[in-house]
Symmetry: C2
Subunit: 313 residues, 2 copies
Protein backbone atom coordinates (compact mmCIF):
# COMPACT_ATOMS: atom_id res chain seq x y z
CA UNK A 1 0.00 0.00 0.00
CA UNK A 2 1.50 3.32 -1.03
CA UNK A 3 0.78 6.18 1.38
CA UNK A 4 1.52 9.88 1.04
CA UNK A 5 4.27 11.19 3.29
CA UNK A 6 3.09 12.89 6.50
CA UNK A 7 4.67 16.22 5.50
CA UNK A 8 5.54 17.94 2.26
CA UNK A 9 8.64 19.62 3.57
CA UNK A 10 10.33 19.15 6.92
CA UNK A 11 12.86 21.81 7.93
CA UNK A 12 15.50 20.91 10.52
CA UNK A 13 17.15 23.92 12.10
CA UNK A 14 20.26 22.58 13.79
CA UNK A 15 21.87 19.24 13.01
CA UNK A 16 23.45 17.73 16.13
CA UNK A 17 22.62 14.35 17.67
CA UNK A 18 18.86 14.98 17.66
CA UNK A 19 18.50 16.84 14.36
CA UNK A 20 20.74 14.31 12.63
CA UNK A 21 18.82 11.38 14.08
CA UNK A 22 15.47 12.86 13.00
CA UNK A 23 16.85 13.33 9.47
CA UNK A 24 18.08 9.74 9.24
CA UNK A 25 14.90 8.20 10.65
CA UNK A 26 12.50 10.47 8.73
CA UNK A 27 14.25 9.65 5.47
CA UNK A 28 14.26 5.91 6.19
CA UNK A 29 10.58 6.06 7.02
CA UNK A 30 9.68 8.30 4.08
CA UNK A 31 7.95 10.86 6.28
CA UNK A 32 8.51 13.90 4.03
CA UNK A 33 8.68 14.69 0.34
CA UNK A 34 11.63 16.90 1.09
CA UNK A 35 13.93 17.37 4.08
CA UNK A 36 15.72 20.72 4.32
CA UNK A 37 18.40 21.38 6.91
CA UNK A 38 20.55 24.18 8.14
CA UNK A 39 23.06 24.77 10.93
CA UNK A 40 24.70 27.81 12.42
CA UNK A 41 28.26 27.03 11.38
CA UNK A 42 29.41 26.75 7.77
CA UNK A 43 31.50 23.74 8.77
CA UNK A 44 28.46 21.82 10.01
CA UNK A 45 26.46 22.79 6.91
CA UNK A 46 29.27 21.47 4.71
CA UNK A 47 29.32 18.24 6.72
CA UNK A 48 25.54 17.77 6.36
CA UNK A 49 25.97 18.18 2.61
CA UNK A 50 28.71 15.54 2.59
CA UNK A 51 26.66 13.11 4.67
CA UNK A 52 23.91 13.29 2.04
CA UNK A 53 21.16 12.70 4.57
CA UNK A 54 18.85 15.54 3.51
CA UNK A 55 17.56 16.87 0.22
CA UNK A 56 18.77 20.41 0.61
CA UNK A 57 21.15 22.30 2.91
CA UNK A 58 20.50 26.03 3.17
CA UNK A 59 22.44 28.89 4.73
CA UNK A 60 19.87 30.61 6.92
CA UNK A 61 17.13 29.67 9.34
CA UNK A 62 14.59 31.78 7.48
CA UNK A 63 15.40 30.07 4.20
CA UNK A 64 15.03 26.65 5.83
CA UNK A 65 11.65 27.51 7.31
CA UNK A 66 10.27 29.00 4.09
CA UNK A 67 7.59 26.75 2.61
CA UNK A 68 7.98 23.97 5.18
CA UNK A 69 4.88 22.50 6.76
CA UNK A 70 6.94 21.19 9.68
CA UNK A 71 9.79 23.23 11.16
CA UNK A 72 11.77 21.68 14.02
CA UNK A 73 14.33 23.64 16.00
CA UNK A 74 17.04 21.15 17.04
CA UNK A 75 19.23 23.61 18.91
CA UNK A 76 20.16 24.47 22.50
CA UNK A 77 17.14 25.88 24.34
CA UNK A 78 18.84 29.23 24.92
CA UNK A 79 18.82 29.92 21.18
CA UNK A 80 15.14 29.14 20.52
CA UNK A 81 13.76 32.67 21.07
CA UNK A 82 16.14 34.28 18.59
CA UNK A 83 15.51 31.64 15.94
CA UNK A 84 11.72 31.96 16.34
CA UNK A 85 12.15 35.65 15.62
CA UNK A 86 14.29 34.94 12.55
CA UNK A 87 11.86 32.50 10.95
CA UNK A 88 8.53 34.10 11.90
CA UNK A 89 8.07 36.18 8.74
CA UNK A 90 8.81 33.27 6.40
CA UNK A 91 6.56 30.63 7.93
CA UNK A 92 3.79 29.09 5.85
CA UNK A 93 0.38 30.05 7.29
CA UNK A 94 -0.36 26.46 8.32
CA UNK A 95 3.17 25.47 9.40
CA UNK A 96 3.68 23.38 12.50
CA UNK A 97 6.59 24.79 14.50
CA UNK A 98 8.23 22.52 17.03
CA UNK A 99 11.50 21.99 18.90
CA UNK A 100 13.32 19.22 20.76
CA UNK A 101 14.49 21.12 23.85
CA UNK A 102 14.93 19.49 27.26
CA UNK A 103 13.14 22.40 28.96
CA UNK A 104 9.65 23.45 27.94
CA UNK A 105 8.31 26.40 29.95
CA UNK A 106 11.27 28.63 28.98
CA UNK A 107 11.00 27.59 25.33
CA UNK A 108 7.29 28.43 25.24
CA UNK A 109 7.99 31.77 26.94
CA UNK A 110 10.80 32.60 24.49
CA UNK A 111 9.25 31.40 21.23
CA UNK A 112 5.49 31.90 21.43
CA UNK A 113 5.50 35.74 21.34
CA UNK A 114 7.36 35.75 18.01
CA UNK A 115 5.31 33.19 16.09
CA UNK A 116 2.40 34.31 13.90
CA UNK A 117 -1.09 33.23 14.97
CA UNK A 118 -1.50 31.28 11.74
CA UNK A 119 1.28 28.82 12.67
CA UNK A 120 0.75 25.88 15.00
CA UNK A 121 3.24 25.84 17.85
CA UNK A 122 3.68 22.35 19.32
CA UNK A 123 6.79 22.13 21.54
CA UNK A 124 8.27 18.65 21.86
CA UNK A 125 10.97 16.85 23.80
CA UNK A 126 12.19 13.42 22.74
CA UNK A 127 13.63 11.87 25.92
CA UNK A 128 16.54 10.15 24.21
CA UNK A 129 20.18 10.82 23.63
CA UNK A 130 23.73 9.66 23.93
CA UNK A 131 26.85 11.39 25.19
CA UNK A 132 27.93 12.16 21.62
CA UNK A 133 27.12 15.32 19.72
CA UNK A 134 27.58 16.87 16.30
CA UNK A 135 26.27 16.03 12.81
CA UNK A 136 27.92 12.59 12.68
CA UNK A 137 26.54 11.36 15.99
CA UNK A 138 22.91 10.75 14.98
CA UNK A 139 21.35 7.41 14.10
CA UNK A 140 17.90 6.39 12.92
CA UNK A 141 17.14 4.12 15.89
CA UNK A 142 17.65 6.72 18.62
CA UNK A 143 13.97 7.30 19.33
CA UNK A 144 12.68 3.74 19.24
CA UNK A 145 10.76 2.90 22.43
CA UNK A 146 11.73 6.25 23.93
CA UNK A 147 9.12 8.78 24.99
CA UNK A 148 8.51 12.05 23.18
CA UNK A 149 6.67 14.59 25.33
CA UNK A 150 4.52 17.22 23.59
CA UNK A 151 3.51 20.36 25.49
CA UNK A 152 1.07 22.20 23.23
CA UNK A 153 -0.15 25.53 24.66
CA UNK A 154 -3.87 25.69 25.47
CA UNK A 155 -5.96 26.26 22.37
CA UNK A 156 -3.55 24.57 19.94
CA UNK A 157 -5.33 22.96 16.98
CA UNK A 158 -5.70 19.26 17.91
CA UNK A 159 -5.06 18.34 14.26
CA UNK A 160 -1.60 19.87 14.40
CA UNK A 161 -0.88 17.97 17.61
CA UNK A 162 -2.05 14.74 15.97
CA UNK A 163 0.16 15.27 12.94
CA UNK A 164 3.23 15.83 15.10
CA UNK A 165 2.28 12.83 17.22
CA UNK A 166 2.10 10.70 14.07
CA UNK A 167 5.53 11.98 12.99
CA UNK A 168 7.16 10.99 16.30
CA UNK A 169 5.33 7.67 16.39
CA UNK A 170 6.73 6.94 12.93
CA UNK A 171 10.23 7.61 14.28
CA UNK A 172 9.56 4.85 16.82
CA UNK A 173 8.71 7.00 19.82
CA UNK A 174 5.84 6.74 22.28
CA UNK A 175 4.10 10.09 22.68
CA UNK A 176 2.79 11.70 25.86
CA UNK A 177 1.22 15.12 26.40
CA UNK A 178 1.84 17.30 29.47
CA UNK A 179 1.92 20.91 30.53
CA UNK A 180 5.29 22.64 30.16
CA UNK A 181 5.58 23.12 33.92
CA UNK A 182 4.98 19.50 34.75
CA UNK A 183 7.40 18.45 32.02
CA UNK A 184 10.08 20.63 33.59
CA UNK A 185 9.58 19.08 37.03
CA UNK A 186 9.64 15.51 35.69
CA UNK A 187 12.78 16.14 33.66
CA UNK A 188 14.45 17.96 36.54
CA UNK A 189 14.57 14.67 38.45
CA UNK A 190 14.91 12.17 35.58
CA UNK A 191 17.52 14.05 33.60
CA UNK A 192 18.72 17.45 34.79
CA UNK A 193 19.65 16.57 38.38
CA UNK A 194 21.41 13.33 37.28
CA UNK A 195 23.48 15.36 34.83
CA UNK A 196 24.33 17.98 37.46
CA UNK A 197 25.43 15.30 39.93
CA UNK A 198 27.47 13.48 37.29
CA UNK A 199 29.15 16.71 36.17
CA UNK A 200 29.94 17.46 39.81
CA UNK A 201 31.47 14.14 40.81
CA UNK A 202 33.54 13.87 37.65
CA UNK A 203 34.88 17.35 38.35
CA UNK A 204 35.58 16.40 41.99
CA UNK A 205 37.56 13.33 40.93
CA UNK A 206 39.59 15.43 38.54
CA UNK A 207 40.81 17.81 41.22
CA UNK A 208 41.73 15.60 44.17
CA UNK A 209 45.09 15.98 45.78
CA UNK A 210 45.42 12.44 47.16
CA UNK A 211 44.31 10.44 44.13
CA UNK A 212 45.69 11.12 40.66
CA UNK A 213 43.56 11.47 37.51
CA UNK A 214 45.36 8.48 36.11
CA UNK A 215 44.25 6.37 39.09
CA UNK A 216 40.70 7.66 38.76
CA UNK A 217 40.61 6.52 35.14
CA UNK A 218 42.31 3.16 35.74
CA UNK A 219 40.01 2.11 38.54
CA UNK A 220 36.83 3.67 37.14
CA UNK A 221 35.13 0.32 36.51
CA UNK A 222 34.06 0.26 40.17
CA UNK A 223 31.20 2.65 39.37
CA UNK A 224 32.69 6.01 38.45
CA UNK A 225 32.76 5.35 34.70
CA UNK A 226 28.94 5.18 34.63
CA UNK A 227 28.88 8.86 35.66
CA UNK A 228 31.42 9.96 33.09
CA UNK A 229 29.10 9.07 30.22
CA UNK A 230 26.53 11.73 30.96
CA UNK A 231 29.22 14.16 32.13
CA UNK A 232 30.53 13.99 28.56
CA UNK A 233 27.31 15.44 27.12
CA UNK A 234 27.27 18.63 25.08
CA UNK A 235 28.32 21.56 27.33
CA UNK A 236 26.32 24.28 25.55
CA UNK A 237 23.13 22.27 25.56
CA UNK A 238 23.50 21.58 29.26
CA UNK A 239 24.48 25.10 30.24
CA UNK A 240 21.23 26.24 28.65
CA UNK A 241 19.18 23.53 30.36
CA UNK A 242 20.32 24.60 33.83
CA UNK A 243 19.80 28.28 33.12
CA UNK A 244 16.34 27.62 31.66
CA UNK A 245 15.08 25.19 34.29
CA UNK A 246 16.69 26.80 37.32
CA UNK A 247 13.71 26.67 39.71
CA UNK A 248 12.80 23.01 39.22
CA UNK A 249 16.46 21.93 39.34
CA UNK A 250 17.09 23.86 42.56
CA UNK A 251 13.97 22.36 44.09
CA UNK A 252 15.01 18.78 43.27
CA UNK A 253 18.53 19.54 44.42
CA UNK A 254 17.17 20.61 47.81
CA UNK A 255 15.44 17.26 48.27
CA UNK A 256 18.51 15.38 47.05
CA UNK A 257 20.71 17.22 49.55
CA UNK A 258 18.38 16.32 52.42
CA UNK A 259 18.50 12.66 51.41
CA UNK A 260 22.27 12.71 51.04
CA UNK A 261 22.58 14.20 54.52
CA UNK A 262 20.44 11.39 55.90
CA UNK A 263 22.64 8.69 54.34
CA UNK A 264 25.79 10.55 55.39
CA UNK A 265 24.54 10.58 58.96
CA UNK A 266 23.84 6.83 58.79
CA UNK A 267 27.42 6.23 57.63
CA UNK A 268 28.90 8.48 60.30
CA UNK A 269 26.91 6.75 63.03
CA UNK A 270 27.58 3.27 61.66
CA UNK A 271 23.84 2.66 61.22
CA UNK A 272 24.02 -0.43 58.99
CA UNK A 273 20.31 -1.09 59.24
CA UNK A 274 19.35 2.29 57.75
CA UNK A 275 21.84 1.79 54.90
CA UNK A 276 20.62 -1.73 54.18
CA UNK A 277 16.99 -0.62 54.17
CA UNK A 278 17.71 2.21 51.72
CA UNK A 279 19.87 0.09 49.39
CA UNK A 280 17.18 -2.58 49.21
CA UNK A 281 14.47 -0.09 48.26
CA UNK A 282 16.42 1.37 45.33
CA UNK A 283 16.75 -2.03 43.63
CA UNK A 284 13.03 -2.04 42.88
CA UNK A 285 13.22 1.08 40.69
CA UNK A 286 15.87 -0.49 38.49
CA UNK A 287 13.67 -3.56 38.07
CA UNK A 288 10.75 -1.31 37.09
CA UNK A 289 12.79 0.53 34.46
CA UNK A 290 13.99 -2.71 32.92
CA UNK A 291 10.47 -4.18 32.99
CA UNK A 292 8.96 -1.29 31.02
CA UNK A 293 11.75 -1.52 28.44
CA UNK A 294 13.53 1.74 29.30
CA UNK A 295 16.85 -0.01 29.90
CA UNK A 296 18.64 -3.22 29.06
CA UNK A 297 18.40 -6.17 31.45
CA UNK A 298 21.88 -7.28 30.42
CA UNK A 299 24.40 -6.81 33.23
CA UNK A 300 26.57 -3.69 32.96
CA UNK A 301 24.16 -2.13 30.37
CA UNK A 302 25.22 -4.93 28.01
CA UNK A 303 28.69 -3.42 27.65
CA UNK A 304 30.78 -5.63 25.39
CA UNK A 305 33.10 -8.09 27.17
CA UNK A 306 36.28 -9.50 25.69
CA UNK A 307 37.05 -13.21 25.65
CA UNK A 308 39.94 -15.07 27.22
CA UNK A 309 41.85 -17.43 25.04
CA UNK A 310 41.88 -20.86 26.60
CA UNK A 311 45.23 -21.49 28.25
CA UNK A 312 47.44 -23.53 25.92
CA UNK A 313 47.73 -27.18 27.00
CA UNK B 1 52.99 -27.34 25.88
CA UNK B 2 51.43 -28.85 28.95
CA UNK B 3 51.90 -26.81 32.13
CA UNK B 4 51.00 -27.65 35.70
CA UNK B 5 48.09 -25.68 37.15
CA UNK B 6 49.09 -22.71 39.30
CA UNK B 7 47.41 -24.20 42.38
CA UNK B 8 46.61 -27.67 43.62
CA UNK B 9 43.41 -26.71 45.31
CA UNK B 10 41.59 -23.39 45.24
CA UNK B 11 38.93 -22.84 47.89
CA UNK B 12 36.23 -20.27 47.24
CA UNK B 13 34.38 -19.17 50.34
CA UNK B 14 31.26 -17.42 49.11
CA UNK B 15 29.80 -17.80 45.64
CA UNK B 16 28.17 -14.57 44.48
CA UNK B 17 29.05 -12.56 41.39
CA UNK B 18 32.79 -12.51 42.16
CA UNK B 19 33.21 -16.02 43.57
CA UNK B 20 31.16 -17.48 40.75
CA UNK B 21 33.12 -15.58 38.13
CA UNK B 22 36.45 -16.72 39.58
CA UNK B 23 35.21 -20.33 39.53
CA UNK B 24 34.12 -20.12 35.90
CA UNK B 25 37.31 -18.40 34.69
CA UNK B 26 39.70 -20.53 36.78
CA UNK B 27 38.11 -23.70 35.46
CA UNK B 28 38.21 -22.48 31.85
CA UNK B 29 41.85 -21.55 32.27
CA UNK B 30 42.78 -24.73 34.15
CA UNK B 31 44.31 -22.83 37.06
CA UNK B 32 43.74 -25.48 39.74
CA UNK B 33 43.69 -29.25 40.02
CA UNK B 34 40.62 -28.91 42.17
CA UNK B 35 38.18 -26.10 42.95
CA UNK B 36 36.25 -26.39 46.19
CA UNK B 37 33.44 -24.01 47.07
CA UNK B 38 31.13 -23.25 49.93
CA UNK B 39 28.49 -20.65 50.76
CA UNK B 40 26.67 -19.64 53.90
CA UNK B 41 23.19 -20.69 52.83
CA UNK B 42 22.22 -24.29 52.05
CA UNK B 43 20.19 -22.97 49.12
CA UNK B 44 23.24 -21.37 47.50
CA UNK B 45 25.33 -24.49 48.13
CA UNK B 46 22.68 -26.60 46.41
CA UNK B 47 22.66 -24.18 43.49
CA UNK B 48 26.47 -24.33 43.12
CA UNK B 49 26.18 -28.11 43.01
CA UNK B 50 23.54 -27.87 40.28
CA UNK B 51 25.60 -25.42 38.23
CA UNK B 52 28.44 -27.94 38.18
CA UNK B 53 31.13 -25.25 38.05
CA UNK B 54 33.36 -26.59 40.83
CA UNK B 55 34.75 -29.98 41.77
CA UNK B 56 33.37 -30.11 45.27
CA UNK B 57 30.83 -28.19 47.34
CA UNK B 58 31.31 -28.41 51.09
CA UNK B 59 29.21 -27.31 54.05
CA UNK B 60 31.61 -25.29 56.15
CA UNK B 61 34.29 -22.68 55.67
CA UNK B 62 36.83 -24.71 57.64
CA UNK B 63 36.20 -27.75 55.45
CA UNK B 64 36.66 -25.67 52.31
CA UNK B 65 39.94 -24.18 53.51
CA UNK B 66 41.40 -27.53 54.61
CA UNK B 67 44.22 -28.60 52.29
CA UNK B 68 43.82 -25.68 49.87
CA UNK B 69 46.93 -23.80 48.76
CA UNK B 70 44.78 -20.81 47.76
CA UNK B 71 41.79 -19.73 49.86
CA UNK B 72 39.77 -16.77 48.61
CA UNK B 73 37.05 -15.15 50.71
CA UNK B 74 34.40 -13.90 48.26
CA UNK B 75 32.05 -12.46 50.87
CA UNK B 76 30.93 -9.05 52.17
CA UNK B 77 33.82 -7.31 53.92
CA UNK B 78 31.96 -7.24 57.24
CA UNK B 79 32.12 -11.05 57.43
CA UNK B 80 35.85 -11.46 56.73
CA UNK B 81 37.06 -11.33 60.35
CA UNK B 82 34.72 -14.08 61.52
CA UNK B 83 35.56 -16.33 58.58
CA UNK B 84 39.31 -15.85 59.11
CA UNK B 85 38.78 -17.08 62.66
CA UNK B 86 36.78 -20.10 61.44
CA UNK B 87 39.37 -21.27 58.92
CA UNK B 88 42.60 -20.43 60.79
CA UNK B 89 43.13 -23.82 62.45
CA UNK B 90 42.58 -25.77 59.23
CA UNK B 91 44.87 -23.79 56.91
CA UNK B 92 47.78 -25.57 55.23
CA UNK B 93 51.08 -24.12 56.50
CA UNK B 94 51.93 -22.61 53.11
CA UNK B 95 48.40 -21.54 52.15
CA UNK B 96 47.83 -18.21 50.46
CA UNK B 97 44.79 -16.52 51.99
CA UNK B 98 43.13 -13.76 50.00
CA UNK B 99 39.82 -11.98 49.58
CA UNK B 100 38.02 -9.81 47.01
CA UNK B 101 36.68 -7.05 49.26
CA UNK B 102 36.15 -3.47 48.08
CA UNK B 103 37.76 -2.11 51.26
CA UNK B 104 41.24 -3.14 52.32
CA UNK B 105 42.38 -1.49 55.57
CA UNK B 106 39.39 -2.86 57.51
CA UNK B 107 39.84 -6.33 56.02
CA UNK B 108 43.51 -6.40 57.01
CA UNK B 109 42.62 -5.18 60.50
CA UNK B 110 39.87 -7.82 60.86
CA UNK B 111 41.61 -10.83 59.30
CA UNK B 112 45.33 -10.57 60.01
CA UNK B 113 45.19 -11.18 63.79
CA UNK B 114 43.46 -14.54 63.28
CA UNK B 115 45.69 -16.03 60.59
CA UNK B 116 48.65 -18.26 61.54
CA UNK B 117 52.12 -16.92 60.76
CA UNK B 118 52.73 -19.84 58.40
CA UNK B 119 50.01 -18.69 55.98
CA UNK B 120 50.58 -15.96 53.40
CA UNK B 121 47.97 -13.22 53.62
CA UNK B 122 47.60 -11.30 50.34
CA UNK B 123 44.41 -9.19 50.29
CA UNK B 124 43.05 -8.46 46.81
CA UNK B 125 40.34 -6.39 45.17
CA UNK B 126 39.30 -7.03 41.59
CA UNK B 127 37.78 -3.73 40.41
CA UNK B 128 35.02 -5.29 38.35
CA UNK B 129 31.38 -6.09 38.79
CA UNK B 130 27.86 -5.77 37.53
CA UNK B 131 24.63 -4.86 39.28
CA UNK B 132 23.66 -8.53 39.52
CA UNK B 133 24.44 -10.83 42.43
CA UNK B 134 24.05 -14.45 43.48
CA UNK B 135 25.54 -17.75 42.24
CA UNK B 136 24.02 -17.47 38.76
CA UNK B 137 25.32 -13.97 38.03
CA UNK B 138 29.00 -14.75 37.45
CA UNK B 139 30.73 -15.11 34.08
CA UNK B 140 34.27 -16.02 33.07
CA UNK B 141 34.98 -12.74 31.24
CA UNK B 142 34.26 -10.42 34.17
CA UNK B 143 37.90 -9.65 34.98
CA UNK B 144 39.32 -9.22 31.50
CA UNK B 145 41.14 -5.87 31.19
CA UNK B 146 39.98 -4.87 34.66
CA UNK B 147 42.45 -4.07 37.43
CA UNK B 148 43.01 -6.28 40.44
CA UNK B 149 44.66 -4.43 43.33
CA UNK B 150 46.78 -6.44 45.80
CA UNK B 151 47.58 -4.92 49.20
CA UNK B 152 50.06 -7.33 50.84
CA UNK B 153 51.08 -6.31 54.38
CA UNK B 154 54.75 -5.41 54.82
CA UNK B 155 56.93 -8.49 55.08
CA UNK B 156 54.70 -10.75 52.96
CA UNK B 157 56.66 -13.40 51.04
CA UNK B 158 57.12 -11.97 47.52
CA UNK B 159 56.68 -15.48 46.08
CA UNK B 160 53.16 -15.66 47.47
CA UNK B 161 52.38 -12.24 45.99
CA UNK B 162 53.74 -13.39 42.62
CA UNK B 163 51.64 -16.56 42.64
CA UNK B 164 48.47 -14.59 43.35
CA UNK B 165 49.45 -12.06 40.71
CA UNK B 166 49.84 -14.88 38.19
CA UNK B 167 46.42 -16.24 39.16
CA UNK B 168 44.67 -12.89 38.54
CA UNK B 169 46.62 -12.30 35.35
CA UNK B 170 45.41 -15.68 34.10
CA UNK B 171 41.83 -14.56 34.79
CA UNK B 172 42.50 -11.66 32.42
CA UNK B 173 43.15 -8.93 34.99
CA UNK B 174 45.92 -6.36 35.20
CA UNK B 175 47.51 -6.35 38.64
CA UNK B 176 48.63 -3.37 40.71
CA UNK B 177 50.04 -3.25 44.22
CA UNK B 178 49.26 -0.50 46.78
CA UNK B 179 48.94 0.06 50.49
CA UNK B 180 45.52 -0.67 52.00
CA UNK B 181 45.06 2.99 52.97
CA UNK B 182 45.78 4.32 49.51
CA UNK B 183 43.50 1.67 48.01
CA UNK B 184 40.68 2.84 50.27
CA UNK B 185 41.10 6.47 49.21
CA UNK B 186 41.22 5.63 45.50
CA UNK B 187 38.16 3.42 45.71
CA UNK B 188 36.29 5.97 47.84
CA UNK B 189 36.22 8.29 44.82
CA UNK B 190 36.09 5.78 41.94
CA UNK B 191 33.51 3.47 43.43
CA UNK B 192 32.12 4.16 46.91
CA UNK B 193 31.07 7.79 46.47
CA UNK B 194 29.48 7.08 43.04
CA UNK B 195 27.45 4.30 44.64
CA UNK B 196 26.39 6.53 47.54
CA UNK B 197 25.29 9.29 45.17
CA UNK B 198 23.44 6.85 42.95
CA UNK B 199 21.67 5.24 45.91
CA UNK B 200 20.70 8.72 47.12
CA UNK B 201 19.25 10.09 43.89
CA UNK B 202 17.34 6.92 43.12
CA UNK B 203 15.85 7.11 46.61
CA UNK B 204 15.02 10.81 46.12
CA UNK B 205 13.22 10.10 42.86
CA UNK B 206 11.21 7.38 44.52
CA UNK B 207 9.78 9.66 47.19
CA UNK B 208 8.83 12.84 45.37
CA UNK B 209 5.40 14.28 45.82
CA UNK B 210 5.13 16.09 42.48
CA UNK B 211 6.43 13.40 40.14
CA UNK B 212 5.17 9.81 40.30
CA UNK B 213 7.43 6.73 40.32
CA UNK B 214 5.81 5.67 37.10
CA UNK B 215 6.85 8.97 35.45
CA UNK B 216 10.37 8.59 36.83
CA UNK B 217 10.67 5.16 35.22
CA UNK B 218 9.07 6.15 31.92
CA UNK B 219 11.28 9.15 31.33
CA UNK B 220 14.46 7.68 32.81
CA UNK B 221 16.30 7.56 29.47
CA UNK B 222 17.21 11.24 29.96
CA UNK B 223 20.01 10.21 32.32
CA UNK B 224 18.44 8.80 35.49
CA UNK B 225 18.55 5.18 34.31
CA UNK B 226 22.39 5.26 34.32
CA UNK B 227 22.26 5.78 38.08
CA UNK B 228 19.79 3.00 38.73
CA UNK B 229 22.25 0.36 37.57
CA UNK B 230 24.69 0.84 40.40
CA UNK B 231 21.87 1.57 42.85
CA UNK B 232 20.72 -2.00 42.15
CA UNK B 233 23.94 -3.49 43.53
CA UNK B 234 23.95 -5.94 46.42
CA UNK B 235 22.69 -4.15 49.59
CA UNK B 236 24.66 -6.20 52.12
CA UNK B 237 27.93 -5.81 50.27
CA UNK B 238 27.42 -2.06 50.05
CA UNK B 239 26.27 -1.60 53.63
CA UNK B 240 29.55 -3.22 54.69
CA UNK B 241 31.62 -1.08 52.32
CA UNK B 242 30.29 2.17 53.77
CA UNK B 243 30.72 0.99 57.35
CA UNK B 244 34.26 -0.24 56.66
CA UNK B 245 35.49 2.74 54.65
CA UNK B 246 33.70 5.48 56.57
CA UNK B 247 36.57 7.96 56.90
CA UNK B 248 37.64 8.00 53.26
CA UNK B 249 34.03 8.13 52.04
CA UNK B 250 33.19 11.04 54.36
CA UNK B 251 36.29 12.88 53.21
CA UNK B 252 35.42 12.51 49.51
CA UNK B 253 31.83 13.42 50.27
CA UNK B 254 33.02 16.68 51.83
CA UNK B 255 34.85 17.65 48.65
CA UNK B 256 31.90 16.59 46.50
CA UNK B 257 29.53 18.73 48.57
CA UNK B 258 31.74 21.78 48.16
CA UNK B 259 31.82 21.28 44.40
CA UNK B 260 28.07 20.76 44.24
CA UNK B 261 27.56 24.00 46.16
CA UNK B 262 29.75 25.83 43.64
CA UNK B 263 27.70 24.56 40.68
CA UNK B 264 24.45 25.24 42.53
CA UNK B 265 25.54 28.83 43.09
CA UNK B 266 26.38 29.17 39.38
CA UNK B 267 22.88 27.97 38.47
CA UNK B 268 21.21 30.26 41.01
CA UNK B 269 23.14 33.28 39.73
CA UNK B 270 22.66 32.35 36.08
CA UNK B 271 26.43 32.14 35.58
CA UNK B 272 26.47 30.34 32.22
CA UNK B 273 30.18 30.81 31.75
CA UNK B 274 31.08 28.91 34.92
CA UNK B 275 28.74 26.07 33.96
CA UNK B 276 30.10 25.86 30.41
CA UNK B 277 33.69 25.83 31.66
CA UNK B 278 32.97 23.01 34.12
CA UNK B 279 30.98 20.91 31.62
CA UNK B 280 33.78 21.18 29.07
CA UNK B 281 36.43 20.00 31.51
CA UNK B 282 34.56 16.85 32.49
CA UNK B 283 34.42 15.61 28.88
CA UNK B 284 38.18 15.00 28.93
CA UNK B 285 37.97 12.42 31.72
CA UNK B 286 35.46 10.35 29.77
CA UNK B 287 37.78 10.40 26.77
CA UNK B 288 40.68 9.24 28.98
CA UNK B 289 38.67 6.32 30.37
CA UNK B 290 37.65 5.19 26.90
CA UNK B 291 41.22 5.57 25.60
CA UNK B 292 42.70 3.29 28.25
CA UNK B 293 40.05 0.66 27.58
CA UNK B 294 38.11 1.01 30.84
CA UNK B 295 34.84 1.73 29.05
CA UNK B 296 33.21 1.26 25.69
CA UNK B 297 33.45 4.04 23.10
CA UNK B 298 30.05 3.04 21.74
CA UNK B 299 27.40 5.67 22.47
CA UNK B 300 25.14 4.90 25.42
CA UNK B 301 27.59 2.21 26.71
CA UNK B 302 26.75 0.21 23.60
CA UNK B 303 23.25 -0.47 24.89
CA UNK B 304 21.33 -2.50 22.33
CA UNK B 305 19.02 -0.49 20.03
CA UNK B 306 15.96 -1.88 18.33
CA UNK B 307 15.36 -1.48 14.61
CA UNK B 308 12.47 0.22 12.87
CA UNK B 309 10.73 -1.74 10.17
CA UNK B 310 10.77 0.24 6.98
CA UNK B 311 7.38 1.82 6.41
CA UNK B 312 5.36 -0.34 3.99
CA UNK B 313 5.19 1.17 0.50
Amino acid sequence: MSTAPLFERVALIGFGLIGGSIARAAREQGLANEIVATARSAKTRARIQELGLVDRVVDSNAEAAKGADLVILCIPVGACGTVAQEIAADLRPDAIVSDVGSVKAAVVRDMAPHLPGSAHFVPAHPVAGTEHSGPDSGFAELFINRWCILTPPEGTDPKAVDRLRAFWAALGAKVEIMTPDHHDLVLAITSHLPHLIAYTIVGTADELGQVTSSEVMKFSAGGFRDFTRIAASDPIMWRDVFLANKDAVLEMLGTFNEDLSKLTRAIRRGDGEALFEHFTRTRAIRRGIVEIGQDSAAPDFGRPHAHLEKKPE
